[in-house]
Symmetry: C2
Subunit: 248 residues, 2 copies
DNA sequence: TACTGGTATGAATCGGATA
DNA sequence: GTATCCGATTCATACCAGT
């Protein structure tokens, strides 16, 4: 197994990838959500919008949270269009989104040429309550296919996930649990390649390597590119160690 | 507690309801979903789409499944607009939908004037697996508010539900579990009124009465109007019996 | 190891002050 | 008025330390 980590803007890097070179795209773009007014959504940092004000942790901010709804759709569409081009026939795309951007995300996915195949709720039990109404404890994974789904494989995946965001050892505000990502990457044929244009701290890549898939990642922030590089490198070393055994 | 059951077309009946007369709208409109092509969707009856071919149960067909996506949105918008008019300030609306119609439903809800406040996944564990990919085991409850949410109440409701559709004693194809509906009606202030323009077999009404809310329902099919009437009537009798005690 | 009690926090939200 | 900013809020859950 191997990985490649590009440091740069997602769209710019995606344009340089060769045609039909990946089998699966899994990504968690900045949602550009939150806030009541347009300026609330676009004028504040991710930290200011999404982290409880009295939290004591010191996780780094992440960029890309300043698009209004219109440009978010256009931008995501172009990104998914490039991902489509770089994907093989029967490739699967998965995009994380919150409830507010879910319709926009399905629009962008379909506009980019993918066939929307379903929505997978990810339920996070440890979420804020909401006085007087229903709390919002889910994110959504919108998934689609280039062409048709390869249903010759003997593979049956769940329709939903229930898992809390990692708290111990967390390095990114929106870090995903690796155990969930390990299930998601199984949609990629063994030995295939998983692409994540918003690598963040690299959980998708860690999961891909653990499950025997190659990984191509892109990360803009140099801080997180460094974090991801370290996690991915550790994963490979660990794998080699495990394969070779402690005696080697 | 009391209930009123109108026998007729939802939109026609809604237009006759007085302004600001209900506090909560809960409904499960015919989704018009389930096929990939327009002719697939419109050419089959609801029963053919939602009931597996070898099912042994014998549920009556229900009408209203012959609209394409565009007209579904227009129709739902008009319906929710009337519901909005009939609702008081701070009233809450909840609309069931499947993943395919979720974006259309949020559009219609907002076009009708409601403030979209969230999406609640309802996970049905007993759903069919899908070879080669993720199964689809969720429906969604889109909820919104007329004006702003009344957050003076000491009420904290869940962000998701997990429950299988009733099997034993099921009388309607898309019948909802009463235990879920009993949670949903709690968003209505006690003694308030819950409106369901697509009553079906009347689960929403049963839940409303059990939780001490009044109910106004509309059902087109005379078969289901009769079924709902019987269930609602039984509920009231039961309640009187319980209140009065077995000695009375 | 299994349990118990203490503590921090969540891809927010909201009212109200300020500009 | 309108837009922006500030900070209080709310509980189930995860984690940790201690028994």
């Amino acid at each position: 197994m191997s990985y490649t980590l590009h440091r740069g803007d997602a769209l710019t890097v995606l344009k340089t990838l060769p045609d039909e070179s990946v089998q699966t795209v899994i990504t968690d773009p900045p949602y550009n959500s939150g806030g009541r007014t347009s300026s609330d959504r676009t004028g504040r940092t991710a930290r200011a919008k999404y982290v409880t004000s009295n939290s004591s942790h010191d996780l780094a901010n992440f960029p890309g949270e300043n698009r209004d709804q219109r440009s978010y759709r256009a931008w995501l569409t172009e990104l998914l269009t490039e991902a489509y081009r770089a994907s093989t026939e029967h490739a699967v795309v998965m995009v994380f989104t919150d409830w507010r951007q879910e319709p926009t995300t399905t629009d962008a996915l379909q506009m980019a040429g993918w066939t929307w195949s379903g929505t997978i709720p990810w339920i996070k039990p440890a979420s804020r309550p909401r006085k007087g109404g229903f709390k919002q404890d889910s994110e959504y994974i919108i998934w689609g296919v280039k062409g048709s789904l390869d249903n010759t494989r003997d593979l049956y995946l769940p329709g939903h996930y229930i898992a809390s965001q990692p708290r111990k050892g967390r390095v990114h505000i929106t870090q995903k649990p690796v155990e969930i990502m390990q299930q998601l990457v199984q949609i990629c044929p063994e030995g295939g390649t998983v692409l994540d244009p918003f690598t963040g701290s690299g959980s998708t890549g860690v999961a891909a390597l653990r499950e025997g898939r190659n990984f191509v990642g892109v990360e803009l922030s140099s801080h997180y590119a460094e974090v991801a590089e370290q996690r991915l490198h550790a994963e490979l070393t660990q794998e080699d160690f495990t394969l070779a055994g402690p005696e080697a």
